[in-house]
């Protein structure tokens, strides 16, 4: 089931009403059954894979907790292997197979591994990572193995974040299944507002921008410099609105039911550096890699060379997590390289700031940093969006061509849409960035309260009728400005 569908609009109120009407001790079962239904609406048979992973990790976590010495490690490795094998089989087998075949052809070897046309179970990378984090936390002794099988299954399958995250940690989500959530007017309406905003980002902004992006990236040879630049910038906002929209709907849905999911995005395109970007983009994944890959490798408490290596390997793995394609590896690798270079050039940047006489974190320095970071991120998005490395190379090699024909009054024509629509797209991006700048200023002015609380208190200050106008117009806009096309959430494919 997808969030922006009629079936979810019917499913979610039923689940919510049932949840609050049921006695507390039956609620976990209601949520589990609802989550099964949510997942089975996509490809029913794949729930068996999910069930298998749940049984393995549930059992292994208990075995780890009860064992000592080497046995603990053995069970951990067994659990990690089982989860990773499933992930490898569905997600990476075809990629590895194709590439091994190419190598074998070069070396004139006989190579005959069968081709399996498997469809990737939706959200596999998300829930496998959530399961991995649970087993690792139990192994580290930071969390007690969950004895209640149903609750553990619900931890993996909780429908708001089952398909595309946020990737939760056991210590945040698991205890919440034991809490008694009563109907709280402010919490429920807050969640609904978040759902509305998420839908707006997805169906009004992301889907609309995707029309331009898809047209250009699916027909690259027909386009040059200006169109490629516009498409890449549009893609930057498309993927943000698509994924942040999904996350907001997920967080909002969970909030309605009384659950707090972790924040996944924090205005990433206002980041002043690549490291800042990664503290704002897909936070649940970047912190996962930080906690379970980067720090175990030694983090920054090693030699400089080893540190840079740790950064690079973490980013390449993060790229690989996204998909079995060289483009994702290049995307991750490029971000890793950015990160390493930015750390290495820190001294140089400090000197430039001093020579030019800028105060630290002054407006102009921040502005230039934001722009440079955005450009670097967009360069990396080229790999992420391209079908293959050849297409990405085409984009880079044609980026500076065709600028002499540029005319501001016909930009829409360059990307193949009417000028009015193009201006409309630009207005949506400006609106989004304007909101982000406003939020950033508001939240930085009162850090102690927490972001959501700051925004909520600002919202509450508006007169009631103004808020109601916003709600009605917001819902109307989602319903009428949304794009009528089957444009799946980008992160579903991961």
């Amino acid at each position: 089931m997808i969030f922006n569908s009629l079936s979810f609009l019917i499913f979610f109120p039923i689940v919510t009403i049932g949840y609050f009407l049921l006695p507390y001790h039956w609620r976990w079962l209601w949520l589990l059954l609802s989550s099964c239904m949510f997942y089975m609406a996509l490809i029913p048979v794949y729930i068996l894979i999910l069930f298998l992973l749940i049984v393995i990790d549930y059992t292994m976590a208990i075995l780890i907790e009860n064992a000592s010495g080497r046995k603990r490690k053995f069970y951990l490795v067994l659990s990690l292997l089982a989860t990773c094998i499933v992930l490898f089989f569905f997600k990476y087998y075809a990629f590895v197979n194709v590439n091994l075949e190419k190598v074998a052809q070069l070396l004139h070897w006989n190579y005959a591994l069968p081709v399996l046309n498997l469809i990737l179970p939706i959200g596999l990378s998300f829930h496998t990572f959530q399961s991995l984090s649970y087993v690792i936390e139990v192994y580290r002794g930071k969390y007690k193995a969950e004895r209640h099988f149903g609750i553990y299954a619900l931890y993996v399958m909780f429908f708001p974040q089952l398909v595309a995250g946020p990737i939760e940690r056991p210590k945040n989500l698991l205890p919440q299944f034991f809490e008694q959530h009563n109907f709280d007017y402010d919490r429920v309406t807050g969640g609904l507002k978040l759902i509305l905003w998420g839908l707006f980002q997805k169906v009004v902004i992301a889907d609309r921008l995707s029309l331009v992006v898809n047209r250009i990236y699916d027909n690259l040879p027909n386009y040059q410099g200006p169109a490629l630049v516009i498409a890449t910038i549009f893609f930057a906002f498309q993927i943000y609105c698509d994924f942040a929209g999904y996350s907001d709907i997920a967080i909002g849905s969970a909030q309605v039911l009384g659950f707090r999911l972790m924040q996944n995005f924090r205005r990433p395109y206002l980041a002043v550096s690549i490291s800042d970007f990664w503290q704002r983009w897909h936070i649940s994944l970047s912190t996962w890699f930080r906690d379970y890959v980067y720090i175990p490798l030694g983090g920054n408490r090693v030699s400089k060379v080893q540190w840079f290596f740790n950064i690079l390997i973490t980013f390449v793995l993060s790229g690989l997590w996204h998909g079995a394609n060289w483009t994702f590896l290049a995307w991750g690798g490029l971000h890793g390289a950015y990160y390493v270079v930015s750390q290495w050039a820190q001294v140089l940047r400090d000197k430039i700031t001093k020579v030019w006489g800028w105060k630290e974190h002054s407006g102009i320095e921040n502005f230039i940093s934001v722009v440079i970071t955005f450009i670097l991120v967009c360069f990396a998005w080229v790999f992420f969006r391209s079908q293959n490395i050849e297409n990405a190379s085409y984009v880079f090699s044609h980026l500076f061509l065709g600028w002499n024909k540029l005319s501001l009054v016909s930009l829409g024509g360059i990307v193949g849409v009417p000028q009015v629509e193009f201006i409309y797209d630009i207005c949506l991006i400006v609106l989004l960035m304007g909101l982000h700048i406003f939020q950033e200023k508001m939240c930085s002015s009162d850090i102690s309260k927490g972001e959501l609380a700051v925004l909520q208190s600002l919202w509450a200050k508006l007169p009631g009728y103004v808020r109601w106008i916003f709600y009605v117009v917001g819902i109307w806009m989602v319903m009428n400005w949304g794009v009528v096309a089957d444009i799946p959430f980008i992160y579903f494919q991961f």
Binding site: L6, M479, V483
Partner: protein, 332 residues
């Protein structure tokens, strides 16, 4: 509990407000070209509506004249105005929706011509999510009614998306009688190691191994269409599009012919029960009338697409069938 009540009443109020605003300022859904075309042609008083799929069109550069069967029929009977409503993969349940629309709008063409493409009963068409045309079907059912005001929100929330998924389509099991042949994905897109001959065999098995029965979705749509047109007082003309039966039989053997006869017989008797004749052109043409399709996904597969001489044959058969020679005094 008071919080719940407050929430409940405010929610109702919000829904009512949104409903009012939506009624006053409805968003627009783009109407498919074929429907607007039908409306405008019927306003000019078209005598014949000719529905069609790719089998009515030219599919090769070798054709000097690329006229479709509809266009050729128009040349044969210039006095009659023919409204050609075609789409490469239109099929019976879309035609049934058009039938309901024609009845609802009170259009009164003298004839409606409907081709029956035998491949359209196979899984390749029947359960392929790309060939469901939910948008067309829904728009035909609600166009010019008050529901149109609320169609955009429903469309944004995926009401036009087909019920069947790519997964369920690709993993559908295909049978020849009781013999299991494979999954759709294995027959439609076999691995590259499979020989070209075997690729063709698998494709033909997928297209022609079905056995029709009265419960088949498309057969029920056919029946519904006949009854709708009869209610509207319009004479339907059904014909089975020619197929390259010699080539297909070469691959599938004599069992294909047996099944083909049974399937056509079922269509004949179904329409006969409704008092509607069926023009069976399925076995009328030899292989030289057919193009081995150059449609990318079907490259190298025999299909019902015809060269000009084949299309002309169908057009002439239809002209005769519609008795246009006497009706329009053409002397054909």
């Amino acid at each position: 509990m008071t919080h719940m009540k407050k929430f409940f009443f405010k929610s109702i109020l919000l829904v009512v407000l949104v409903f009012i605003v939506q009624s006053l300022c409805p968003g627009e859904v783009v109407i498919p070209n074929e429907i607007t075309r039908l409306d405008s042609l019927m306003q000019y008083g078209a005598d014949i509506i000719y529905f069609g799929d790719s089998t009515t069109e030219s599919f090769t550069a070798e054709d000097a004249n690329k006229a479709s069967i509809g266009a050729l029929l128009q040349m044969l009977i210039p006095q009659a105005q023919i409204a050609k409503i075609t789409h490469p993969s239109y099929q019976m349940d879309v035609y049934a929706a058009y039938g309901r629309y024609i009845l609802r709008k009170g259009y009164h063409p003298k004839f409606v011509i409907i081709p029956i493409n035998l491949r359209s009963f196979s899984p390749v068409w029947d359960i392929n999510p790309s060939y469901q045309f939910d948008k067309e079907k829904i728009v035909l059912d609600v166009k010019d009614t008050f529901v149109m005001r609320y169609l955009k929100p429903l469309a944004v929330f995926k009401i036009f998306e087909p019920n069947c998924s790519q997964f369920s389509y690709q993993y559908t099991r295909v049978f020849e009688g009781k013999k299991y042949l494979g999954l759709v994905k294995d027959l439609f897109t076999p691995p590259s190691s499979v020989s070209p001959e075997d690729v063709t065999l698998r494709y033909l098995q997928l297209c022609y191994s079905y056995s029709l029965n009265y419960q088949h979705r498309k057969v029920r749509s056919l029946l519904q269409l006949v009854r709708t047109l009869k209610t509207a007082g319009i004479k339907p003309i059904f014909y089975i599009a020619p197929l390259d039966y010699i080539t297909v039989e070469k691959y599938l053997g004599s069992k294909f012919r047996e099944r083909h006869i049974e399937n056509v017989q079922l269509l004949h008797s179904l329409l006969a029960q409704e008092g509607v004749p069926l023009l069976d052109l399925s076995n009328s043409l030899d292989p030289e009338f057919f193009i081995w399709s150059t449609v990318s996904t079907e490259k190298g597969h025999p299909s019902e697409h015809l060269f000009l001489k084949g299309r002309m044959f169908v057009a002439m058969s239809l002209a005769k069938k519609t008795s246009m020679n006497t009706f329009f005094n053409l002397g054909l």
